[in-house]
Subunit: 360 residues, 2 copies
């Protein structure tokens, strides 16, 4: 069973099971101190480390059906908040199909694959202060961008984006830290990841296109990043692992990792309940453990609660695009009032969803 | 008087005055609750807002000479820690001389000024988890970079940077937050800045050059950012304000701000006590308030403790470079054991310094 973790609006750590939600601060049969389950976030629990996570998961699985009524509520009666305090937020760019599609649209005169892309997981730091939980609205951002499109366009001016986009991603939260000055290999990094969320990396493409040279995405991305409220433990996903694409040239030694390196999550992007695309994380070139190892390769270390994400996940055929921009060939964008939802499945089991309404 | 704020190794908020350090949790004549002065960081004090900062500053100035012995220590007896919990860290690119010098070296075939640069303050998010205080060592980062230089160089491989650099910057800490969905004009942003630190944005130029297309600096910068331990309140710097360069084209309305918009800080970069360059923040094209207004222009908001910095500050004549790379024409880099110091002055008064030793 998945037994994903969340935090309710009383600040208690909860677990989803069937159509119920279990309040761990009132649960029986757990050795972990109950204090960590009333802390308002998953951070103190994550900080206990992998052995405590594994023990709790074993004890939960054994006792899940026999919990007292005081610990159990129907899922519909529980309101969830952002499940942890996000430290640094890093977004990678690990889907080759997405990178090549964006490159062809944005830089038609260049090789769509950036020069370093096959050698390391390219990424950038995003804004952790605007990571929001599913259900919170997204306000259409304004910014400085061309006031029209094409050769007759006027100069740049400040105003609401006309090219609001969504990106289908997975996010991973660091549970076991690494001290500054130390590094991880990808094999070591596997055990430092606590769990997975579904993530929507909202993007204002006109603002982004104008501002991004040479320092990368900034205000075109920083206004909001939505995550699903349920954090799925990595331990629950072992049976959904799958080999990733062959890596050629061979990665540097610290990026080498055993197969199966990817998690096979099917992801569906919908706008107002109409399906736009269905894609899968099985095709990611750089795996989560490779991404985390790379984050530490310069000795920066990582902290409990740091979030890193895959970048938009695109397939290679129509209907598998990881963003509205790719699905619409650059001509379809989000309107005020649109409700955007990304849902994920492992096999036939839903692992959660992230949704938000676009507001003016 | 400057009366800069710091935090000592007992977690108490302290103020520097002449050759003494005053422990505010033991000071007399202050209306602010003493709890905020034993919190381990400046965040709870900053969160009280601009009226409390102004009141405390007035009361400190009135009572500074008459504090009891229990609140006073010689400056040399106090060990300072990182003065606040850093939220998001943003680094701008606001020195035209620096941008043009870097552009000529890194992108000799292009206009050295990026297309959007005169229209908005270009910046990127950095890693807040590696903001360290003066005195903490910096470990030479490794990364994937070309293993040689020039046409005969081998392919990229993982190893220690051969091009470790320092950048002379000022950093500013947000004390008054802005809620998500709201924006600030540059005029409004002035009052949200609590204070200023001197900042060294360590850079590994070979790692940075290989990785930065198209998402910007990442592991070439994220391994360490050093700040001075003393936070100088903006209120102490009013008499050192100076007009910035003329802005043409006229900035968007939200970026308009009254002169004098810049703070005039003279900054000196030294390696092993040998002066490399002396520059000044008077030449910055985008002022701190313009940078902060831009951070909120897309509705992202800012939180108490967010840090933003100017980018390297360079002048236009030899001896005024804001980085070792510029000063050495691309041929001088930091060696293990080097001690790098940046000191700042307003008029004849030192406003602090940031120093660190490079370790293997």
């Amino acid at each position: 069973v998945l037994l994903p973790y969340g935090v309710d609006d009383a600040g208690h750590v909860v677990v989803a099971w069937r159509d119920e939600v279990l309040d761990l601060s009132r649960a029986e049969g757990l050795d972990v101190s109950r204090d960590v389950f009333t802390a308002g976030s998953l951070n103190p629990y994550m900080a206990l480390g992998p052995q405590a996570w594994a023990l709790t998961r074993r004890q939960l699985a054994a006792a899940i059906a026999d919990q007292p009524g005081a610990a159990r509520r129907p899922a519909g009666a529980v309101r969830l908040v952002r499940p942890w305090e996000v430290g640094d937020f890093t977004d990678f760019y690990s889907s080759r199909q997405h990178v090549e599609a964006m490159g062809r649209m944005l830089r038609p005169d260049e090789d769509p694959l950036p020069p370093a892309w096959l050698h390391l997981p390219i990424g950038y730091h995003g804004r952790s202060g605007t990571v929001i939980v599913s259900g919170e609205p997204v306000f259409r951002p304004s910014g400085i961008r061309p006031s029209g499109i094409g050769p007759g366009a006027d100069g740049p001016e400040y105003g609401p984006t006309g090219r609001l986009d969504a990106e289908v991603e997975l996010g991973f939260v660091v549970g076991e830290p690494v001290a500054r000055g130390h590094t991880l290999t990808a094999a070591e990094a596997e055990g430092h990841i606590f769990g997975l969320v579904i993530l929507n990396d909202w993007s204002a493409r006109d603002i982004q296109a104008f501002e991004y040279r040479p320092l990368g995405p900034f205000l075109g991305k920083s206004f909001a990043t939505s995550i699903s409220p349920w954090v799925v433990p990595m331990a629950a996903l072992d049976r959904f692992r799958i080999d990733g694409p062959v890596q050629d040239p061979a990665p540097a030694p610290y990026l080498k990792v055993a197969e199966p390196r990817n998690v096979d999550v099917r992801l569906q992007l919908s706008v107002n309940n109409t399906v736009i695309s269905t894609t899968s994380s099985d095709s990611l070139y750089w795996s989560p453990a490779q991404q985390l190892a790379h984050l530490t390769a310069n000795g920066a270390g990582v902290l409990v609660g740091d979030l890193f994400a895959t970048g938009a996940i695109s397939g290679s055929t129509p209907g598998t695009e990881g963003s509205l921009m790719e699905a619409g060939g650059g001509s379809r964008w989000l309107a005020d009032g649109d409700v955007v939802t990304i849902e994920g499945w492992c096999g036939s089991e839903s692992i959660g969803s992230v949704t938000a309404e676009v507001r003016p």
